[in-house]
């Protein structure tokens, strides 16, 4: 029960994204992934960054597009949508040029921007209602 409340709180603080804090964390994670990929190449760092990146952006997308669904379905849709978005932006960048490390970082940045802006747009909409 306590765990569920804390998770709910975490979800709320991510979707509130006050002062773009969650978005900034997401950008820091992208920088971490970039540095890890270019120098350290540690799987442990990679997996932690991956989980956090997915959590933040999937919650953004879930809030933006599947707000009315129940919590579990909404999160699952958020994750699926994030995978689709990553795949689509990655596909587009790959077709235009390629997916080397700088381009890959660009893909993550574009995805974060889209997720964050979608979340903010929906939040503004629901605030004005």
């Amino acid at each position: 029960m306590i765990g569920s409340i804390q998770l709910h709180k975490l979800e709320r603080s991510i979707t509130n994204d006050s002062h773009f804090l969650a978005t900034l964390i997401s950008c820091t994670l992208i920088f971490t992934i970039y540095v890890n990929l270019s120098t350290i190449q540690s799987f442990a760092i990679g997996i932690i960054a991956f989980v956090l990146y997915f959590m933040i952006n999937a919650i953004f997308l879930a809030q933006a597009f599947f707000e009315k669904e129940d919590a579990f379905s909404s999160l699952m849709f958020g994750v699926l949508l994030l995978i689709m978005l990553l795949g689509f932006v990655g596909w587009l960048v790959m077709i235009i040029h390629n997916l080397d490390v700088p381009m890959f970082t660009m893909v993550l940045l574009i995805t974060t921007t889209i997720s964050s802006l979608s979340n903010r747009r929906m939040k503004n909409k629901s605030d004005t209602r």
Partner: protein, 626 residues
């Protein structure tokens, strides 16, 4: 202690046991990992089937309790990932199939060896072909695998191997759950359907291999869910999602894409029918039938028109099979398709029992709904029934009336499995509910062991046997069904999978060669090369799987292992070093020994370990351009 507390305690114990047996099953899979086997059944730990059966049985008992839906779904997801990971965990390079070819191409994107994706833009390429190649599912999957591998900072091989098993395991049960829920049934029946997707062997197989078609199936299932929602809502968001998932289904693979769009048009036709049926019922029905026929024809026609984009495509409508095959085989193909060729009765039964049960369940549901024409669910069940029939008819058209198809038409079983799963769950749940009603009607509201003493012997026997049937027999039967279905899903006959020594040799060459090189080898060597360096990589060149030049070079080298063929290959591929790989289990001991002695006669230098790789089962010869 109250009854509720006791039940809760029992539930927690069941859940702990379930987790234990699932973890044990994963452990047994890891323990079965091998670098030299033909099929998973050859090396699978003997206790795996038993632990999987017990885990599945426990999962079914948990499903029928009042546990939270989220928890049940999480348990089902872990179970689903387990049964789709056999290839990826047991074989070091996964299943020797299309998934290794996809990896070979993805590797080039990952290593930045190509621009603009696989088969990117060339000046000689017609624009239509470029567009076709660009939209091929391999590019979407390559992008996704590359991004995930870079995020994890992990080699592409591992991400590629587990991409589909994990995505399928996580998202297909949820899609099945949501789809069944749109039919207005209880949460428990919906949960049941999310586990029952695993009883369809073709679906399990496609969930175990990382190919674009499998990704497409995932998106198809979600597009189907939104289509069902769209039928009884005017929410614009649902329409967008329906289209977006169909587009992604198409980007992943044209088969799933065409199927998604066929059903999307069918959805629109059903929606129009709902709007028009009151003023003019007959016209609306005729329109619906015509639309269904159009939707049905989209898949076969798309294969015919594919030749405008892909010059290698040569699908045609033909009656050849009717002229060439005996009547008995035609009838067999019509009813069972590919299953008539070499499948045993058990496998045939396991493959057809699910769709058959679903068909009966659909007919029963439609029969029940005829008294309730205004029921919202009615249109959804009619839609699914029509979609199911379209897939059945399309399969027969592809099987009997067409030839030269670019894909195996057996893949259509996966679509029918997705549509069938909710109806199988409905049928089983209806049986369970009837049994429960029967028990309730013939027993006091609460039965205690003390209370049993007051009942007559025949009543006690009836009540106890029904309770056993509900709580033990049905979970045992369903657990057994899923476990047996696994044996039909994973092949029992296959060529020798990529071996550890083939991988070791390919890795050794890659790590110790600093110039551009090419490798002459049989198709199995090419598969191993695809896993490590990719296909047609200009820096580390392996000829394509269907390359005639590559094949001829290997045949010539096997007959006459001399530097001249290696020099020729170096000139052809613009490389500095050439390697020739010969493997004993692939060519046979006699030919292997002959090649070795001839190579030594021709003073070809053995590369790497002088005694060969894999305890002498594989030799690498090298030649360097002066």
């Amino acid at each position: 202690m109250t009854l509720a507390n006791q039940t809760s305690k029992l539930l927690r114990i069941s859940e702990l046991l379930y987790l234990l047996f699932t973890a044990l099953s994963f452990y047994l899979l890891i323990a079965s990992r091998t670098g030299e086997a033909h099929t998973v059944w050859q090396v699978l730990h003997p206790a795996f089937n038993s632990t999987l059966f017990i885990a599945t049985f426990l999962l079914f008992t948990i499903i029928f309790t009042a546990e939270k839906t989220t928890h049940k779904l999480l348990f089902i997801i872990s179970h689903s990932i387990l049964i789709h990971s056999l290839f990826s965990i047991i074989f070091p390079a996964g299943d020797l199939s299309g998934q290794q070819m996809i990896l070979g191409r993805t590797r080039l994107v990952f290593d930045n060896a190509v621009l603009h994706g696989w088969t990117g833009w060339r000046p000689t390429m017609p624009v239509s072909t470029f567009v076709f190649e660009m939209f091929k599912g391999i590019n979407l999957q390559a992008a996704l695998s590359t991004i995930l591998a870079r995020m994890f900072s992990l080699d592409l091989l591992y991400v590629h191997l587990f991409l589909v098993p994990v995505l399928w395991g996580a998202f297909i049960p949820v899609a099945s759950f949501l789809t069944t829920k749109t039919l207005g049934v209880s949460e428990n029946a919906s949960i049941l359907s999310s586990l029952l997707v695993s009883v369809f062997p073709y679906a399990t197989y496609f969930g175990a291999i990382s190919v674009p078609n499998s990704l497409g199936f995932i998106f198809f299932f979600y597009s189907l869910y939104f289509m069902l929602r769209h039928l009884s809502t005017n929410d614009s968001k649902t329409t967008y999602y329906m289209v977006i998932f169909s587009v992604f289904s198409f980007l992943s693979h044209y088969l799933t894409g065409i199927m998604s769009f066929s059903l999307l048009f069918l959805t629109l036709a059903f929606k129009t029918y709902e709007g028009e049926k009151k003023p003019s019922s007959i016209n609306a029905r005729i329109l619906l039938v015509v639309s269904s026929v159009v939707c049905l024809s989209l898949l076969p026609l798309s294969f015919i028109y594919m030749k405008f984009f892909d010059s290698t495509s040569n699908a045609v409508f033909t009656l050849d099979k009717f002229y060439e095959l005996p009547l008995q085989e035609i009838v067999g193909l019509f009813f069972l398709g590919e299953l008539v060729h070499g499948f045993d009765l058990k496998t045939i039964l396991l493959i057809i029992v699910g769709p058959l049960l679903a068909l009966l369940s659909m007919i029963y549901q439609l029969y029940n709904l005829r008294r309730n024409p205004n029921d919202k669910i009615r249109i959804r069940i009619y839609f699914l029934f029509t979609a199911f029939l379209i897939i059945l008819v399309d399969y027969r058209i592809l099987k009997l009336f067409m030839s030269g198809l670019p894909i195996n038409e057996e893949r259509l079983w996966v679509f029918s499995g997705f549509i069938a799963a909710p109806f199988v769950a409905l049928a089983i749940f209806a049986i369970l509910s009837s049994l429960k009603t029967f028990v309730k009607a013939r027993s006091p509201s609460t039965i205690t062991f003390a209370g049993l003493k007051t009942m007559s012997k025949s009543d006690v026997f009836r009540v106890v046997s029904l309770l056993l049937a509900i709580n033990i027999l049905i979970p045992v039967l369903l657990g057994g069904w899923i476990t047996f279905s696994l044996s039909a899903a994973y092949p029992h006959v296959a060529p020798l999978q990529t071996t550890w020594y083939e991988l070791e040799a390919v890795k050794y060459i890659e790590e110790n060669t600093y110039e551009k090189y090419n490798v002459i080898g049989d198709i199995w060597t090419i598969f191993a090369g695809e896993v490590i360096v990719g296909i047609n990589n200009p820096r580390a060149y392996y000829f394509g799987e269907q390359s005639k030049i590559g094949h001829d070079l290997f045949v010539n080298m096997s007959r006459d292992p001399s530097p001249r063929w290696m020099l020729w290959s170096m000139n052809y591929t613009n490389t500095k070093v050439a390697y020739f790989i010969v493997t004993e289990p692939r060519v046979g001991t006699e030919e292997f020994n002959e090649v070795l002695s001839k190579a030594k006669e021709n003073s070809l230098q053995v590369y790497g370990h002088p005694e060969g790789f894999g305890n002498g089962k594989l030799y690498v010869f090298s030649y360097r351009k002066e």
